[in-house]
């Protein structure tokens, strides 16, 4: 696996997060690391800061991590998770302003080309606008 920007998908629904990760995987294969966090600790709809932190840490790279989120609480919890990452890792992690599923596929496709986090972000955020 080359050192490309990694992708983390955060949804209120574990199914959405997992399915979006499957779609990303189908598009970019092993070229881009993808992790996801979805649902609350007890299996309901919501987001779990600890799970988001764990997902980010699984795929973290110096090159950067792009985080895709669905609605409000997912964003707030992801911001919190990024701030709580140890060793200043959070500096290399950005939440993209793009739809969770479409943005994840777009971001991963851009990342697969070796693009920087800024480029990945721009591509995903421009899409559909």
């Amino acid at each position: 696996m080359s050192d490309n920007v990694a992708i983390v998908i955060v949804s209120h629904s574990r199914d959405v997060a997992k399915g979006a990760a499957d779609m990303v995987h189908q598009m970019v294969g092993e070229e881009v690391r993808v992790a996801y966090a979805g649902g609350t600790e007890d299996g309901g709809l919501g987001t779990d800061v600890a799970a988001i932190m764990a997902a980010i840490e699984t795929v973290w790279t110096e090159k950067g991590v792009a985080v895709l989120v669905d609605l409000g609480g997912a964003e707030t919890n992801s911001e919190m998770a990024i701030e709580m990452l140890p060793d200043g890792k959070g500096e290399k992690v950005q939440i993209l302003d793009a739809p969770v599923v479409e943005g994840a596929v777009m971001a991963a496709t851009e990342a697969a080309g070796g693009s920087s986090l800024a480029e990945v972000r721009a591509t995903a955020e421009d899409f559909g606008s």
């Binding site: 600790e41 709809l45 919501g46 987001t47 800061v49 409000g72």
Partner: protein, 211 residues
């Protein structure tokens, strides 16, 4: 989890009492909070808050052994990690900021207000929001302001202001959080986070009064 008035004297007893009282009121109003959230959100605010305060209550002894400021911070991080909704990082950041405002339990109204101001600022920053958006801030900010004015009866002022401020969220149109999706239709309902803030303020007043 209900607490005897006599326990309230020492620092750790205060923390234990506060945790117990807030936990109790959240559990007692769990369904009401969900119903409020059902009307203008996703019906989970009661469950979210209960999940958070169950975890806080479970760690109550450990938390109460900490200095007051650290105890608040620990409650904050527990809420952040456990709530699962937007309210988790919001209340969590509030308590973390309030805890950082000083090691020892406040001994004056001025010190209480300083912590509340830190808490309110943290919510504003974390939520990228302010008063008037139909959120918990519409209770937290007026209560902080009212206490800052140095009222003769702080507890009565806190309770009264919280109750009025909660009611004032009813006609508001939400511009933050999920309720914002409803646009104009969010008017006519109390904000669930404003209600949980009011409940927490009431519970804290109860403890301070030694009820």
């Amino acid at each position: 989890m209900t607490t005897e008035p006599s326990e309230v004297a020492s620092g750790d007893a205060l923390v234990t009492a506060l945790i117990g009282a807030v936990h109790d009121t959240i559990l007692a109003h769990r369904d009401e909070l969900c119903d409020l959230d059902r009307a203008i959100g996703d019906a989970d605010h009661g469950h979210n808050m209960a999940r958070g305060f169950e975890a806080v209550a479970a760690a109550s002894d450990e938390i109460a052994a900490l200095p007051f400021g650290k105890a608040l911070q620990k409650i904050g991080t527990t809420l952040v990690m456990k709530v699962g909704g937007a309210s988790g990082p919001l209340y969590g950041s509030a308590l973390m900021a309030a805890g950082k405002a000083g090691e020892d339990a406040p001994t004056s109204l001025v010190e209480v207000v300083a912590r509340l101001e830190a808490a309110v600022d943290a919510v504003k920053q974390r939520g990228k929001s302010d008063v008037g958006a139909k959120t918990m801030l519409d209770v937290l900010v007026p209560v902080t302001e009212a206490l800052k004015a140095g009222p003769a009866d702080p507890l009565a002022t806190a309770r009264g202001t919280a109750a009025e401020a909660l009611e004032a969220t009813r006609p508001m149109v939400a511009t933050k959080g999920r309720a914002a999706f409803l646009g104009e239709r969010s008017a006519g309902h109390l904000d669930p986070g404003a209600r949980s803030s009011e409940l927490i303020i009431d519970a804290v007043c109860d403890v301070v009064e030694g009820r």
